[in-house]
């Protein structure tokens, strides 16, 4: 039983990180139908920003909790700026072009950012300090560590916040309208450019939070971490139904648990096999993903 719970919480932690990244994929896809392959790199840049801020503040003697919060805030701001800029440079000029063009542009951006960080920082792995405060979790301390608990709690809070934001704010409403029909949204006076920029900013911020949390949890980063995390999160988004926000959360959770249980009860050799076999299965029966809408034929 204890082993089962340990695996469950491990899967929850993993799923949380996937969720934070997958939300960015799914939001951007929902608005402009673009798979933003540079999104994993935003996650990586967030982690690097967190490392730099933690290094500076740590040397200045700030308390650990303050460093943790400031590192996340700094990473969010910096990554949001990157997300905003990437959209302006790589996607906006191609908005009228055929669908493949921005996709290629996104892949190019991803490769560029990876290599940029490799050259500007280092190609080596770097140690990442344990920013998440260490404490003994009451009752279930023997099965879940403080960092895992905080990752899960932060992710839940972020998901709730995002849902409220989309449901109840003006901007959130504008986002939903743009996602439904961009031309119609323009006609009723929504500034579509602002909405798209806001989507990139929000998505990038979430990825940055994930980047700092997971880097702090596993204790190391390099310029390449965004690639695999990005692929997995993208899988989660597709699994849940790309374009759907609750779908991305659900997809990430399922993917995280599948991987954790495949490792825990079968073998970690087959971790990816199970994850992708599940993806194939779900797409066979629900081609648009678990919560995705079936595409309406526009005549």
């Amino acid at each position: 039983m204890e082993y089962f719970l340990e695996i469950l919480f491990g899967g929850l932690t993993r799923g949380s990180i996937y969720a934070l990244i997958a939300l960015g994929y799914t939001m951007v896809y929902g608005i402009i139908e673009l798979i933003n392959f540079a999104h994993g790199e935003i996650y990586m840049i967030g982690a690097f920003t967190g490392l730099i801020i933690a290094g500076v503040l740590g040397a200045a003697g700030f308390p650990a909790a303050a460093i943790f919060v400031l590192a996340i805030l700094g990473a969010v701001l910096y990554s949001a700026a990157y997300g905003y800029t990437i959209e302006k440079i790589a996607y906006k000029p191609l908005r009228g072009a055929q669908r493949l063009s921005p996709l290629i542009s996104a892949i190019g951006m991803s490769i560029f950012l990876q290599n940029y960080v490799m050259l500007a920082q280092t190609s080596d792995f770097l140690p990442f300090p344990s920013l998440i405060p260490e404490f003994k979790v009451p009752w279930i301390g023997h099965i879940i560590s403080s960092s895992e608990l905080i990752i899960v709690v932060v992710t839940i809070l972020v998901c709730i916040g995002l849902t409220l934001f989309i449901k109840f704010t003006r901007l959130g409403k504008a986002m939903r309208a743009t996602a439904q029909n961009r031309k119609m949204a323009m006609l009723v006076g929504i500034n579509v450019n602002t909405v798209i920029s806001a989507t990139f900013v929000v998505g990038s911020s979430l990825a940055a939070v994930g980047g700092v949390l997971i880097a702090s949890h596993i204790g190391q980063i390099n310029y390449y971490i965004g690639f695999i995390a990005g692929i997995k999160a993208f899988t989660a988004a597709v699994l849940g139904g790309i374009g759907s926000v609750p779908g991305a959360m659900l997809g990430a959770l399922i993917l995280g648990q599948t991987e954790a249980f495949a490792t825990g009860y079968v073998s970690s050799d087959y971790e990816d096999v199970f994850a992708f076999a599940l993806l194939v299965l779900i797409l066979i029966f629900r081609p648009a993903g678990i919560m995705g809408k079936e595409p309406v034929q526009k005549v």
Partner: protein, 376 residues
């Protein structure tokens, strides 16, 4: 039609450019011996590959200062493979097309294996300072392959013997699914099972670069293992050992020379303390060791990195063989490598019929106070 003419003109211009480039390359090829150096010179395993380039340059400079090999000046031509097999074949093809006859490299076993097919067809002698995958020599498939490092099974035997001395009974064997890591782990598993007094608690591969390893760490804990042997490289090793220590799993962690790198200690920090890793035997007593070290410090201002002395020895052995063979004729060079002794930082070496250097081996090291220290 006008468009076609423009295109044709463009094609001709490009072709002319290439022709000009080729012509220039051919001009000054007399009187020089090209030593190809292939390995990871960028990417996350660059710290294993770059010291080899330094070693080759230093050996070449040293020999050139003494008049070169048979009057030919030695020139180093390096090719990056990032330890990726697909890039290694590109590097090998490039070296082949440059008419290189001797290659120092590659660094990773998977990349070396991929490149060897091309070298074999091109009659190129290849010598690796670091590729330890046993079949590279033991299969007999690659008579053109040599190495100045002992193979994984020698390392695995030492690792298992050491684990036995530590009193471990039930060992979890983890690997990174790569040629090197899985090969090493499989040998460890085999030797543990053959021993009788010990058993394998768990044999699992992890995915390099995965977001976290907590599930496999839980599994290690649940398996009741009293020790872990990991086959692979330092990025995964530091993640696993960090996750284990954070979960208060304080069983011994043993690994291979992919982990015996200072980057591991830097990244894993306090969690690296007490970790065992096998690595090439301490050779600092050899007279040429000091010479090689001094040359590196003088030229680059830093201490040499991983596999530097193996690479230094390999470069010396290759160039010595060309000298003794009186040229770059494939059969003669191979014969010279197998028969002629050469003084290197690793000691006085020659190669056996399979291509392994005689008299090189491994020792066990442990991290103590942020440094690898040899244990007896």
């Amino acid at each position: 039609m006008r468009g076609n003419w423009k295109l044709l003109a463009l094609v001709l211009a490009v072709v002319a450019l290439f022709a000009a480039g080729c012509g220039e390359g051919k001009k000054d090829e007399a009187k020089k011996l090209v030593l190809g150096v292939a390995g990871a010179h960028s990417g996350d395993l660059a710290s294993y590959g770059l010291p080899t380039v330094n070693a080759a340059k230093l050996v070449a400079a040293d020999i050139n200062a003494k008049g070169g090999v048979l009057g030919m000046q030695v020139e180093v031509l390096s090719q990056d493979d990032q330890c990726k097999p697909e890039m290694a074949t590109n590097a090998a093809t490039k070296l082949l097309s440059e008419d290189v006859k001797i290659v120092l490299g590659h660094i990773c076993s998977g990349a070396t294996k991929a490149a060897l097919e091309i070298y074999k067809d091109g009659n190129i002698v290849c010598m690796s300072p670091s590729a330890t995958n046993p079949p590279l020599t033991q299969s007999g498939d690659y008579p053109n392959f040599f190495r100045t490092i002992a193979s994984d099974d020698a390392q695995a035997q030492l690792e298992v013997d050491f684990a036995k001395n530590l009193g471990l009974k039930n060992i979890a064997v983890i690997h990174d699914k790569g040629d090197y890591g899985k090969g090493f782990a499989s040998f460890c598993k085999q030797f543990i099972e053959e021993d009788g007094g010990m058993s394998v608690a768990l044999f699992e591969g992890v995915t390099p670069g995965a977001v976290d390893y907590s599930a496999v760490v839980q599994k290690i804990k649940n398996s009741g293992a009293d020790g872990v042997i990991f086959g692979g490289y330092h990025p995964e090793a530091s993640k696993i050992v960090t996750a284990m220590r954070k979960k208060n799993i304080d069983i011994p962690f043993l690994s291979d020379d992919g982990v015996k790198d200072d980057t591991f200690i830097k990244v894993a920090g306090e969690y690296a303390e007490g970790v065992y890793a096998t690595g090439p035997r301490d050779i600092s007593g050899n007279p040429l060791y000091a010479v090689a070290e001094e040359a590196h410090k003088k030229e680059f201002g830093t201490d040499p990195g991983a596999f530097y002395y193996q690479a230094y020895a390999a470069a010396q052995a290759l160039l010595n063989a060309v000298e003794k063979a009186g040229g770059t004729d494939y059969d003669k060079v191979v014969n010279a490598l197998r028969t002629e002794y050469v003084e290197t930082p690793l000691g006085k070496i020659k190669f056996d019929g399979r291509g392994d250097a005689e008299g090189v081996g491994f020792s066990v090291y442990q991290v103590k106070n942020g440094q690898y220290v040899e244990v007896e």
